[in-house]
Symmetry: C2
Subunit: 244 residues, 2 copies
């Protein structure tokens, strides 16, 4: 269910209230067990996670990367500031590891749907904390225990098109760990860990669209497992990764 009618989200907005009120106005109600998927862009706007490019002085390195990639050197400066390392830099693309441990294009820095001209949004400082705050506010307002996912659309190696994934998670286990479970013939399952939170984020985007008017979607009927581990379990540790 798409939550519509929220409108532009100002810095400092109480996002949980905006979402809950808009959903109730539309005749809905958040209930126990719902998963509330909130677009990263909405969270970043409410938290003021944005940068005014007019105040940015690009370093020589940022200028050189900008020339290589055809990007605004001030945007590159912001991207580098959000990053701990560069994973790939080629053909107009900068893929970095962000300070959250996410690997994505432009460190999640984005000019589309930003709060103003010459403004770019960045990822929330701590997306798990953002998700937790929304979850707690929803519980105070409605009494319902809902899981919250902060989602963003990421590109992928080898495949065209972006998919929504979970950058922040609260209340639910991000992974469904089936290790030890057996298939119909009693043999161990091949794919034994499923990235449920990423799949929920992808499902939500089908109702969210990309134009920016639907910042929140409610997924009802998925039996998630309770956890306070956030989105951390979705990040592969370097020693398990073949594509660092």
């Amino acid at each position: 269910m798409a939550v519509t009618g929220i409108g532009e989200i100002p810095r400092g907005a109480d996002l949980a209230s905006l979402i809950n009120e808009a959903f109730v106005r539309g005749g809905g109600a958040l209930v126990e067990g719902d998963v509330l998927v909130v677009a990263q862009k909405a969270v970043s706007k409410a938290e003021g996670a944005s940068v005014d490019l007019s105040g940015i002085v690009p370093s020589d390195f940022a200028k050189s990367v900008a020339q290589l990639t055809g990007k605004d050197p001030r945007v590159v400066e912001v991207v580098l500031g959000e990053s701990v390392r560069i994973v790939r830099m080629d053909r107009g693309v900068i893929i970095t590891e962000t300070r959250h441990g996410l690997i994505c294009a432009n460190a999640g820095v984005d000019a589309s749907n930003a709060p103003g001209e010459g403004i770019v949004t960045t990822l929330p400082k701590d997306p798990d904390a953002s998700a937790r705050a929304i979850r707690e506010a929803i519980r105070r307002m409605t009494g319902s225990d809902v899981a919250v996912i902060v989602s963003d659309s990421f590109g992928r190696p080898w495949r065209e098109g972006s998919v929504n994934i979970a950058v922040g998670v609260a209340g639910m286990a991000a992974l469904d760990d089936l290790r030890g479970k057996l298939d119909d013939r009693g043999r161990p399952l091949r794919t034994s860990v499923v990235a449920i939170a990423d799949e929920l984020a992808s499902a939500a985007q089908l109702a969210m669209g990309e134009i920016g008017q639907v910042p929140a979607v409610i997924v009802r009927g998925y039996a998630w497992q309770r956890s306070d581990d956030g989105a951390g379990p979705l990040k592969r540790s370097p020693d398990r990764d073949l594509f660092r």
Copy 2:
């Protein structure tokens, strides 16, 4: 909506009929605009896309890879036979490009939920053709124009857990191309191509589970665009890929 009660799928089964009949038995009906997501494993079983390991003689190279990765040399032989190149081979994992142009672990060769002991399933020979055949059979049986996705769960660089993606597509555009569309402030969208078919496959897995009893899921209410391009547009061409 999960399609339950299909049971074990024998080689040569008319999968479209099995799915449609099971769904009708459960009180449902496929209607115009539905997306029918079918697990690759079910398609492979119906098409007989499986290999009896007892007839496989591993090459010296397969034996050497098996030793390196701790796998059954006969399984490695099957994996190599399904592949056009090795992308990574390390830490017990073989990631190859399959003859379909998919990049995944073990070329999609799988022993779990296989049709028998010592049998492994392979990906369908032509997953787009499989999807088209199911789509046409559903139209003959029900008169309804449904899109069909053949899905499989794939691992990903940098992230733990698998997600379901679309390996075969029929009837719908796999990508939602928003290039040229503008955001709320009239600026071009950052993420302008969305991998809708992969997101639908991921959404479906939430109802499918991994244990193997639910080989088909119906997604209702998503307004897909008609296309006969199959899953090809989801595969990134080598010249656009930074992670070959």
